[in-house]
Amino acid sequence: MAVTTYIQAINQALAEEMARDPLTFVMGEDVVLSAFGATKGLIDKFGPTRVRNTPIAEAGFVGAAVGAAMAGTRPICEVEFASFFYCAFDQVCNQAAKLRYMSGGQARMPITFRCVYGAMGGAAAQHSETVYAQFLSVAGLKLVVPSNPSDMKGLLKSAIRDDNPVIVFEHGALGGHREEIPAGEHLVPLGKAAVKRVGEHVTVVAIGAMVPRALKVADRLAKENISVEVVDPRTLIPLDEDTILSSVEKTNRAVVFDEGHLRGGAATDIAALIGEKGFDFLDGPVRRVTTLDVPIPFSPPLEKAALANEARLEAAIRELVGR
């Protein structure tokens, strides 16, 4: 086991999978030099045919990934910030997501999209969005939101091997998080949630960068004998409903904790699921702790006020358990 950062985990997954399959290749803006470091050094290992800086033309190169996937290769396509997907929404939502179905199963679409999402401090409204909520209702995309280095490596490798379009969301503030990662081949299947902490009184379903925060809140509350179970769905599509519902069946209380917005967001999606399929387990309403429904503001005190945070999670838990 070696200590690895979240970014290094990405880099390892990419290098391993590119070594494994010569039809994989990486493209995106500045992937050669790699500002965040995720694709650093790949150019030396795999050369310019398989590591390609693109023009700033998201619709063009994301659409090219779609064509390249259908023509038998396995593109790994980086869109720097999640909100730049908006410039290529047709290519993701109308093409990548639908062409397999529309072609009656003829098209294989083995694309892995990577992007940085979330607030990382003063990046403001156009560079701080979570964006995955906007893909939830498309049908035909898999959505992966790893919360730690080990999951990142294992999920990204699975994503690359998957024959469907998968978007992997990397939280911008997790880049330096360190952790031991199992040596050798390390795969985490898509569609399998992780119970990151076992608890009795309330289930917190936390997404992406909210997972370590939920764990901190759980630690704190444990001192008061409030026992919190933290479930990390890891992939939003496919969603491991069983693990989530089993947890709520045990605790009878649920909070969904997400950095996205409330309306139409991922927390809302999971809350509705629990509310419908887990209704009989519930002793109280499913609480949603999310970012306020405003564009993410620039100034630190405003950003802080907007974002989902530990204090609000704690308050929601306390209200549910009545302490």
Binding site: G60, V66, A68
Partner: protein, 324 residues
Amino acid sequence: MDLGKDLLLDMYRSMTRIRLFETKVRDLATANEIPGFVHVSIGEEASATGVCAALRKTDRITSTHRGHSHLIAKGGRLDRMMAELFGKRTGYCKGKGGSMHIVDFSLGILGANGIVGAGLPIATGSALAAVIAGTEDVTACFFGDGASNEGTFHESLNLAAVWKLPVVFVCENNGFGEFTPMRTVTSVKDIAVRAKAYDIPGHIVDGNDVLEVYRYASEAVARARAGEGPTLLECKTYRWEGHVVGEQAFLGAASYRTEQEVNEWKARCPLIRFDKFAAESGKISVTDLQRIKQETEVELEAAIKFARESPLPDASEVTEDVFT
């Protein structure tokens, strides 16, 4: 360029298949035997045919909402196409796609597409795949004059030019996007001029002359295959029919073009033009042409029968094919 008889007859067969198929499809859609939006290419047979004649079987194409002609020219089967239009399980897409989404991967047909301009990046990526995989395949990308104003046109041509990808961009300029005359929404008279913005060759081609299309396409395909990058071909042509079958019903009395204009273009019919060439060149006999026409009629009748008699998909199939 001296073309062999087989090639000439193949092109004639392709144009005939398109003309007869499209005419029939128009009638079937008008009679509501085919649901959904149907766009036909009557009058535009030569561009699809000339380009695809210059391709190998392993080469690939992308197409548009007005895609039947491209699929047929690349070798698409009329029976499975017709079955798809009828929404039958035996159709190319098991009934899931319909007219705007027909795909045949075994023939390198990456698909028609309901989104204007969507095929351009896909074709670019298909050409990129050839480079990654180290094959010699070329991709031809069909799109309309209207699509040439979409951002994907720009992004794709730039990308293909920078990476010298083996792709041929074929603009079928029929003078209209839906009911809007091209010149009222397009800043240039000739789309081919836009090649200058990517430092690639751009040619204006008589899109109703299959031999001229074939010549330009062959050159562009050879260039692409040699690793010299993309070419932009603008095939000037015209659609005899409306934008979408049945448009008269909702447009009412309003019209967006004169009968005279339509008739002028009908006089430039690609098939009549070919007949004339055949007669003048002496290479091909009228019997050959008639035989092909008859064979195509038989093929088409069989296709319609196949489509009519094929089963509809079962409701249970609705959730299949979202993911592998």
